[in-house]
């Protein structure tokens, strides 16, 4: 399976372990990532709050560059970037005049032929068709946290269910984990308000962590760099807001899958987190059957 790849700015910086773990897992499951040459920032989280045309033109340039790769699918691992790209594509598909205006702005033609896809759906597909072994099943109780940008607005993203999504839970189950039933799967963490409204972000995150820990989850699993940053890097602010300590680590879905595939934790960037990822070692039975079987 070969897809165009748009990592986005976070995955080249504060969320670099998401990029590292995704590349490591992709290699193992037979997914080839073709990074779009000379990509620009999509404008999330500010472009759409300030100027509608700018919020379409920045993703428009990325979509035009992705079309030049000749590939059908564009993998966008960051939930905020995914949301912006898929929304812009939908807006331009529905309005020819707007599309012509954006083509003029980006100085490129735009067919809108490339499908924008998130990391969960692409990995699920790759794992179902790939031939690989689960070397160390991830036998841990986890809380799958989707956040708000991955599954909403449903009429645009058309991925999973907007209120009670299941795909990430199913994938965790497939690698040996026990996903908990919890109430904060799609609640907002405050996303891009982390600098400007830190206290608000801390309060929202405290509620999320409180529920996850209350359900005895050992880790929160996410696919969004902003959710990860808020729940991990903001831990000090969260504890101050809640008046208590939280110990639960936050992992990217690719890191959990990577561990199950037996990939070294250094390659998965697990030591880059602020909250240490120290999971209880559970006696495991070696499983050599393909995960996709």
């Amino acid at each position: 399976m070969r897809v165009a790849y748009f990592p986005g700015c976070s995955l080249k910086g504060s969320a670099r372990e998401f990029d590292e773990s995704l590349r490591a897992v992709a290699e193992r499951v037979g997914l080839e990532l073709v990074e779009i040459p000379d990509w620009n920032c999509c404008g999330a989280s500010s472009g759409h709050a300030i100027d509608h045309l700018l919020s379409l033109a920045l993703p428009g340039r990325i979509l035009a560059l992705a079309e030049k790769t000749g590939l059908e699918d564009l993998l966008v691992p960051c939930s905020a970037c995914y949301n912006r790209l898929i929304t812009a594509r939908q807006d331009l598909l529905e309005d020819r005049k707007l599309k012509a205006e954006v083509c003029e702005l980006i100085e490129m033609d735009l067919q809108l032929s490339v499908r924008v896809r998130n990391v969960i759906e692409v990995l699920k597909e790759a794992m179902e068709s790939g031939n690989f072994a689960l070397e160390a099943p991830f036998v841990h109780r986890v809380a799958c946290y989707y956040g708000c940008l991955l599954v909403r607005p449903h009429k645009v993203v058309r991925f999973d269910r907007p209120e009670e999504p299941r795909t990430m839970d199913e994938m965790m189950h497939a690698i040996g984990a026990d996903p908990v039933d919890w109430a904060f799967k799609v609640e907002c963490c405050g996303a891009g308000m982390t600098l400007a409204r830190t206290e608000l972000v801390a309060k929202l995150c405290a509620r999320i962590l409180d529920d996850a820990e209350g359900r005895d989850a050992e880790a929160v699993i996410t696919a969004c760099p902003m959710c990860h940053a808020n729940l991990d890097m903001r831990r000090g602010d969260i504890e101050k807001a809640a008046g208590r300590k939280f110990h639960i680590p936050i992992m990217y879905i690719t890191q959990a899958i990577g561990l199950a595939l037996g990939i070294d934790r250094g390659r998965l960037g697990l030591d880059r987190h602020i909250v240490p990822v120290l999971l209880k070692t559970i006696e495991q039975q070696p499983n050599t059957s393909p995960a996709g079987a």
Binding site: C9, S14, D38, W39, N40, S46, D51, R61, L105, E107
Partner: protein
């Protein structure tokens, strides 16, 4: 909701409590405009300048640097000029950036 935010920005009618949010948006967009991509360290420094929150996250920054999560230098894309032209024909044309 985005429409209301955009109108508020265009008309310059911003609630005083949203001052830091606007400072963040300005720093964020200014970073993209310069190099084509968001440069996190530069954006944070610019936000501190605009919001006067000089000591915010002062203890967090060294931890992120030690973990290789912040770069000291920005990455300038080859199409940076093309991105600047997009800005020039959208928000700068309307005279709403600072």
């Amino acid at each position: 909701m985005d429409f209301l935010r955009q109108e508020s920005w265009k008309r310059g009618q911003i609630h005083p409590k949203a001052r830091n949010i606007i400072a963040f948006h300005r720093s964020f967009l200014s970073s993209i405009r310069m190099t084509g991509r968001m440069f996190e360290l530069g954006m944070i420094a610019d936000y501190k300048r605009r919001s006067f929150k000089f000591f915010q996250d002062i203890l967090l920054a060294p931890k992120l640097l030690m973990r290789g999560k912040l770069h000291f230098l920005p990455h300038r894309i080859q199409g940076a000029k093309a991105v600047q032209r997009i800005f020039a024909r959208t928000i700068e044309k309307k005279g709403t950036t600072q």
